[in-house]
Symmetry: C2
Subunit: 420 residues, 2 copies
């Protein structure tokens, strides 16, 4: 054997280390990786990826939304395409693996397939999506929406903190935003979209499993609650006459936590709180909170929302407080394709690993790609469930396991795939 | 009668209106009064006060801490001094009455005494304390500490937001800070210190009483609690594994509120909260809160503190959270002199008003003056208990009532006072 699975895993590790150096931050160990859409770092990492792809004999192109797409072409006439990949961008001070690992792993897979002369009846298009996190232009899933054909030209007007529009940033990157509609894939040419990603949670680590198969991508809703009381001197207003907004906010926090802890398939958090006037000796007048609820089952999430808003109404009324409520975001859950998830499960078993199915509590490019084709995801264990942080970490052996699972999955897809 | 009590009340009202115009803010109705220590506004208001005092035949001096002191001298040889007054400074965007009313009312009283040729066997020294709120140099009770002889020269190094020291501000104001020790009164020359002040709370308004007599000035303690959890992705960490600092903070808020509501003579608040990283989709890692407890009975406050810290410890431990705790401030309660409070109560009855005794939940110059002499306070009703706000309001008739009470109090003190 010239190139073992171990070597494929090590190759992925080396490429990931190299890719992490393309970062706005210098000290990766301490400050993590910062790589936003249509920046110098984005250009540099695409240049490196292009080199690695071309060395694998892939044909590479940049689309008009700054997605890099490398094709490992099939010799089969009229072959359809398996889309794989993930996003090149990171949150500010993020880790080395969230996103980039899902771009690199397919390259290690292709190197492995080539070494063993494994021909497939479909093309593999490896995509480095330009912008999934959405931190630069406050709009997530840019790259995948373009491929799925759901990109709204309105998004081009979004601006970054410097006032640069997405449109001008893409132009400066060498793209022609007016031609974005041409970059969509057609459903009939695509088999499925498959993404490898770190779990971003602790479940696989706790189960001592290198990989897991994703059944659904969570639905998300966000709310803003403003609790209104009456400011006053913290020494002179008797307790019985106080209308303390922060005391009401504490009830909201407690309700969110208790409801989510008591409901299966539901997580939620009050992540953000702003209190006014926020002085040590002033009774709080106004406290604004965010509420986020997530569930892979939309009906669970919606029922929880209604229950929660009722609990909040009752509690705040009892405290003689009023509140404003606005739902600021809602994203339905996306179910992974049962046949594709089942195929991945079989591939996990083929690799001698106990299959574990879990849902993704985070959003991913699959949310957009589901409008184009069947999707599923392979999760890799990450240390202590940490992501979006410089200390994000994985084990090199888990890359080896993931390459093996992907190879088995391709072979299963090849057998399933009608020859053209 | 040439000058009725009504006229005295109206005179006080007019002087208060005039004094309110000496403000850093221009639009008093909307922005309130801003007058800090050793500023142009301070100089301007002292100039006006000096004019009014001199017109009453008082001798006026500025001491080395920028206190203005006007003496209504007694003809009695070897007379001692009744100190009355309040602070000239306001919080930023404060009201017209908090402080200044306690300077102006004694002037209306003196005008009334003169009109009726009421001679007293003691001097009345009316003090416009330079700085009680402490907002400019972050150090309260400057003026009263100087008169009481407890001023620490170290305080002169305190700086304002512009980096100007108290020492240089006082020099620029025409004071000689090195001579501050000479400005203290001697206990043997002082009868008592009496301050009129708006209630800053709703009790007199609710009881339909124009004035009330103060039995004690609250003790205050402040704490900072930092609740420490573990940040994490709000979608991917299962509820059972979360260590959410804000959920712990909500428990702290609840405990403070419940304990104070359930304990007589105790008020408390969590006025300030800072949450990190404070993102809608991140589990809170660190939440810092202020806790303030106030009571006119130090033992009640200290017992509550111990109970509270134990409740916090138990609740946070159950949530697998840790916390840091620091007590940042403690000020013991000061009891008003029973004989002086009783004298005020009698004076209230003399005026045909039902006497009501209450404690002050706010700090006042009396806290410092108690180190020099017996103290008490007369509270005036204020609209909706509002203070430290542009909408701070009083009724003109209540000024009339207060002048009458003060006049009766002076006559009772005169009868009580051994002739020198």
């Amino acid at each position: 054997m010239t190139f073992s699975l171990d070597q494929a895993g090590r190759q992925a590790w080396e490429w990931l280390e190299a890719a992490s150096t393309f970062s706005e931050t210098r000290d990766i160990a301490r400050e993590g990786v910062t790589r936003q859409c249509a920046t110098r770092e984005h250009r540099d990492v695409l240049e490196a990826l292009t080199g690695w792809m071309e060395a694998l004999g892939m044909s590479v192109r940049l689309d008009n939304a700054a997605n890099l797409i490398g094709r490992h072409a099939s010799g089969t006439p009229g072959a359809r395409t398996l889309l794989v990949g993930s996003h090149q961008d990171t949150v500010p001070n993020g880790g080395k693996y969230d996103g980039m690992m899902g771009v690199i792993l397919p390259l290690a897979l292709i190197k492995y397939l080539q070494e063993y002369d494994i021909a497939l009846p479909f093309h593999i298009d490896v995509v480095a999506f330009s912008d999934e996190e959405g931190t630069r232009f406050s709009s997530t899933l840019l790259g995948s929406k373009v491929l799925a054909g759901t990109f709204e030209p309105e998004m081009l007007k979004a601006t970054d903190d410097e006032g640069v529009t997405l449109e001008s940033a893409l132009k400066a990157f060498g793209c022609d935003p007016a031609r974005i509609p041409e970059d969509r894939y057609r459903p009939e040419e695509v088999i499925a979209f498959l993404e490898a990603h770190i779990e971003q949670g602790p479940q696989l680590e706790q189960a001592s499993l290198p990989v897991g198969v994703v059944s659904a991508i969570t639905g998300i809703e966000r709310h803003q609650i403003t609790v209104r009381g009456m400011a006053g001197h913290a020494g002179t207003v008797p307790m019985s006459l106080r209308r303390d907004a922060l005391v009401g906010a504490a009830e909201v926090i407690r309700h969110v936590d208790a409801l989510c802890k008591g409901t299966d398939d539901l997580v939620g958090v009050v992540g953000k709180i702003e209190n006014a006037p926020n002085g040590v000796n002033v009774i709080p007048q106004t406290t604004t909170l965010s509420i986020e609820l997530r569930s892979p089952r939309d009906e669970v999430r919606r029922r929880a929302r209604e229950q929660l808003l009722e609990q909040i109404r009752v509690s705040l009324e009892a405290l003689d407080l009023t509140f404003d409520h606005a739902q600021t975001y809602e994203q339905s859950a996306v179910q992974c394709s049962p046949w594709l998830t089942a195929t991945l499960e079989e591939a996990v078993k083929d690799s001698g690993i106990t299959p574990r199915v879990l849902f993704s509590g985070a959003g991913h490019d699959g949310l957009a790609m589901a409008d184009l084709c069947d999707i599923s995801m392979l999760f890799l264990r990450c240390r202590e469930g940490v992501s979006h942080h410089p200390s994000e970490a994985i084990e090199p052996e888990d890359l080896t396991a993931a390459v093996e699972v992907l190879a088995h999955a391709c072979q299963r897809l090849a057998r399933r795939q009608p020859q053209a």
